[in-house]
């Protein structure tokens, strides 16, 4: 008869033994703490600090940050949990500690780790590609009734031309819920057109026109900044704008000397 002692322990036994180990339990505990901490930070930190979300693009950008934080929280928790346990379980004294177990490698662990991190990477890639595609197809559908704004960056002031209404101004006011196409260029060095609350950004290059599309969907003030160092007054290359109702927008157009259709 073969006794159970001489058999290699079954996977179930090994797992039970493994999870009863003190270092495993404590690492798991610390890891859970960090996981929860990162999930909490992901769900509260960015939403708290990001400005008012006034378009689909801005919403997408925020979601990427929030959900990526949440998805990566368990991995970060695992890393920090193990690190914190060993940190607290340190060797004290002025001589080197006794040798630990000579673990040179562990094929299953390496395989699982690689597969999990590849899956995480795949999720990130697919998420990003899908969002990009949705954004660009939405923009294409919305284009016919879009309002076109020609944005010109010059050192160190933005100006906005509304060809449909025939005027140009220093303020970027837009009607709500109407798609907008920004055609951006520069008369000198590179700038980067950033209407902060709308979540889009594109560089202004000399003798080239770049395009950005969005649909503002919330009323309120927007800040327009320059996000590419453009010389002396880069910091002051900021303008204001407002997302307004269609009626208010029309009266603003008239006040600026434009002709409404």
């Amino acid at each position: 008869m073969i006794t159970s002692d001489s058999l290699p322990p079954s996977i179930g036994d090994r797992t039970r033994k493994f999870i009863k180990r003190h270092d495993v339990r404590m690492s798991f505990l610390y890891g859970s703490f960090f996981t929860l901490l990162f999930i909490f930070l992901g769900l509260s930190f960015y939403p708290k600090f990001m400005p008012k979300i006034m378009s689909e693009q801005m919403q997408n950008g925020k979601e990427v940050i929030v959900y990526f934080t949440v998805i990566s929280a368990p991995i970060a928790g695992l890393v920090l949990g193990i690190a914190l346990y060993t940190f607290l379980n340190r060797h004290k004294g002025d001589t080197p500690p006794p040798d630990g177990p000579a673990i040179r490698t562990n094929t299953p662990v390496i395989l699982v780790w690689t597969v999990v991190s590849s899956l995480f990477c795949l999720v990130a890639i697919v998420w990003g590609l899908v969002e990009m595609n949705v954004a660009s197809s939405e923009a294409a559908e919305n284009e016919p009734n879009a309002i076109v704004v020609e944005v010109t960056g010059s050192q160190w002031v933005w100006n906005f031309n509304y060809p449909e209404y025939g005027f140009s101004t220093d303020k970027l006011n837009l009607p709500i819920d109407r798609p907008v196409v920004f055609r951006i260029t520069s008369v000198d060095v590179n700038h980067s057109f950033w209407p902060v609350q709308l979540g889009v950004k594109v560089d202004a290059n000399r003798y080239a026109v770049t395009t950005a599309r969005t649909t503002p969907n919330v009323l309120g003030v927007i800040d327009i900044k320059c996000a590419e160092l453009c010389g002396l007054y880069h910091a002051y290359m900021e303008s204001e704008g407002e997302i307004m109702t269609a009626a208010n927008f029309n009266s603003w157009v008239k006040a600026e000397g434009g002709h409404t259709a």
């Binding site: 400005p51 060993t86 060797h91 500690p97 040798d99 673990i103 390496i110 560089d203």
Partner: protein
């Protein structure tokens, strides 16, 4: 090497050779005189009141300084003597190695790899000090809205000079001091493969740094370290210093890269086959090997910028058929491998440290090597993620997003190696080991925020904001510089013969790490709120986040001063170190201090890798 043996009888004794009379002093004199002469000459050719002409005058003068300095310090004596058929004698070779010359050999064109390592160390620490002081100025100006300390013009110069000084310092921070001093001993070599090129790489770097510093006197570098064209074409005469410094630096790093790579490939001790090479050696080699293809594009970008500025070509001027995008491409084809050139040796230092202090073998060395190799390979395919929003080709954002996010896989392997090494260990938390923990925390944050930025919709919002600044400081400073400081604490006993002052080291460590996290967590908040980077002034909205960053900066700065004191104090009066204070098993710990000229009295024979710690299960 073969010719001088025949000529020993007729050649002059080193006592009468020109080599013995040249040092840094003569280099400075000849360099400055050359620059002055070139300035005076070119001023008579070109009109100093025209912008493009000033650029010609200064560019020529700066190159004259670099060449003059190298002539003055004797860099070209060897090649020249070879040219006229009177090669250096054995005595002269020995003299150039600096044997028995005490402290003065550190100011000479010295071929001993240990001297070059110390030269790099002191040079890098000086650069970090200067760059750090500029960081303090930047943070002080941003302490509250209003830009009250300096004008926007000086602020922009501070940002540019802080950036490029720190980038150059970090590129060489591990591979310079440790790659030159420690690496040859680690692989059991008697010196580097090309000792004279080794000296040349350091002194070229020295001339480049001096050139860069001269920018202050010509109006600064108002373009940030990226020096984007066309802004750099428009910038004032200080920009010439940047261009010349980068060209010289690219030559220096190519020479250093070829030298270290050749040394590791050809000069390993008997028995050190590929699987027995210490991980730091592998990391440093991959890093410098990456620099070899990467930096020439940087050099090319600056040569074109110099042409645009001096003789009116239009490489970057869309008006005459050029393109600013061309610059961005050339720059980032260098720029993205370059951040890993910085990161990998710093991480490799920490992977070298971890097994020693945990007393366990490095977990899965193959994963570490694969991780480094994967990062190095992918890093050449991701450059355009810096250009998602530049508009050059929105349809390529997808492919570049894929390659960029794939970097998270090899990076994950590095974490696995560290965790596997820590697992079931009882670490000895000496200063070097603390660096491993700081790295895990900092690089985790740097890595995860990097994934946000690699995603196009998030990058649309975050690009060009303080969020990006915080992200890359977490990777470059939080990971690579932390690794280098840990390496300094680790190898200090071998490099100076003394132990680093422990308590000061701990105090500095905690001040720097807490301060660092304050600065850049504050900056993540400011970036999320919408503060662009490189701004001299900002809206009231960001005031709290920026104030936190500035407080953190003062804490970090003071902590760095404590470290500086610890290094200087310990170097002079520190406790005498035993040969192997940490009980490490790699070769560099077998040599006594002071390390003999050719390192080993008997060439070592290697029979296993350096990580044979641990009891078998």
């Amino acid at each position: 090497m073969t010719t001088f043996a025949n000529k020993t009888q007729t050649a002059p004794k080193p006592g009468r050779s020109l080599i013995t009379k040249l040092n840094m002093g003569t280099g400075l004199v000849v360099g400055i005189v050359s620059a002055e002469v070139m300035y005076w000459l070119s001023k008579s050719w070109f009109d100093i009141n025209e912008a493009a002409e000033i650029n010609k005058i200064l560019t020529l003068s700066m190159f004259a300084w670099c060449i003059g300095f190298l002539v003055g310090i004797g860099a070209f004596i060897g090649p020249f003597r070879w040219l006229i058929g009177k090669d250096l004698t054995a005595e002269e070779h020995l003299y150039m190695a600096g044997e028995g010359q005490g402290i003065s050999r550190y100011f000479k064109y010295c071929t001993d790899h240990k001297v070059v390592g110390i030269q790099y160390l002191v040079g890098v620490m000086t650069m970090l000090g200067v760059g750090g002081a500029m960081a303090m100025m930047i943070r002080t100006n941003l302490i509250q809205p209003g830009s009250r300390l300096v004008t926007p013009e000086i602020y922009n110069s501070l940002v540019g000079l802080h950036g490029i000084t720190m980038i150059i310092a970090l590129i060489v921070v591990s591979t310079g001091p440790f790659g030159n001093f420690i690496l040859p001993i680690m692989i059991g070599a008697r010196d580097m493969a090309f000792p004279r090129l080794n000296a040349l790489s350091w002194w070229l770097l020295f001339t480049a740094i001096i050139t860069l510093c001269s920018a202050w006197f010509f109006g600064g570098i108002p373009t940030g370290w990226t020096a984007y064209a066309p802004l750099s074409v428009q910038a004032g005469p200080g920009m010439n210093a940047f261009i010349v410094a980068i060209i010289i630096f690219a030559i220096s790093s190519a020479i250093a890269g070829a030298n270290i790579t050749t040394t590791v490939v050809t000069m390993r001790a008997k028995g050190m086959n590929l699987t027995r090479i210490p991980i730091f050696v592998i990391g440093a080699t991959i890093s410098v090997a990456m620099a070899i293809p990467a930096f020439p594009t940087f050099m090319a970008s600056q040569i074109m910028a110099a042409f645009d500025r001096t003789i009116g070509t239009g490489f970057y001027d869309a008006n005459v058929g050029g393109s600013g995008w061309l610059y961005a491409h050339l720059f980032w084809i260098m720029g993205h491998p370059e951040v890993y050139v910085i990161l990998i040796p710093g991480v490799a230092v920490l992977l070298e440290i971890a097994p020693v202090f945990v007393r366990k073998p490095l977990f899965s060395v193959n994963s570490a090597i694969l991780g480094f190799a994967g990062i190095a390979g992918l890093s050449f395919l991701v450059w355009a993620h810096h250009m998602y929003i530049s508009g050059w080709s929105p349809s390529l954002n997808g492919p570049f997003m894929v390659t960029t996010e794939m970097i998270s896989i090899p990076t994950g392997l590095i974490f696995l190696v560290l965790l596997g090494t820590l697992w079931r260990g009882k670490p000895w938390l000496k200063l070097p080991m603390l660096g491993v923990y700081a790295f895990i925390w900092n690089f985790l944050i740097g890595g995860v925020t990097g994934i946000y930025l690699s995603d196009v919709p998030a990058d649309d919002y975050l690009h060009g904001s303080m969020f990006v600044t915080a992200h890359f400081h977490y990777t470059l400073m939080g990971a690579a510089l932390t690794g280098a400081i840990a390496g300094l604490a680790f190898w200090f006993p071998k490099m100076t013969g003394r132990m680093l002052h422990e308590r000061a080291g701990y105090i500095s460590f905690w001040m720097v790490q807490i301060g660092f996290n304050l600065i850049f967590l504050g900056m993540f908040a400011a970036g999320s709120q919408g503060q662009p980077r490189r701004v001299a002034d900002y809206a009231q909205t960001f005031a709290t986040s920026d104030l936190i960053s500035t407080i953190g900066a003062y804490l970090t700065g003071t902590g760095m001063l404590v470290l500086l004191w610890a290094v200087i104090h310990s170097w002079r009066n520190g406790k005498i170190a035993p040969t192997n204070p940490w009980g490490s098993k790699t070769l560099e710990w077998t040599v006594p201090y002071p390390i003999p000229l050719e390192n080993f009295h008997e060439t070592p024979v290697v029979t296993s890798d350096g990580y044979g710690y641990g009891r078998s299960n």
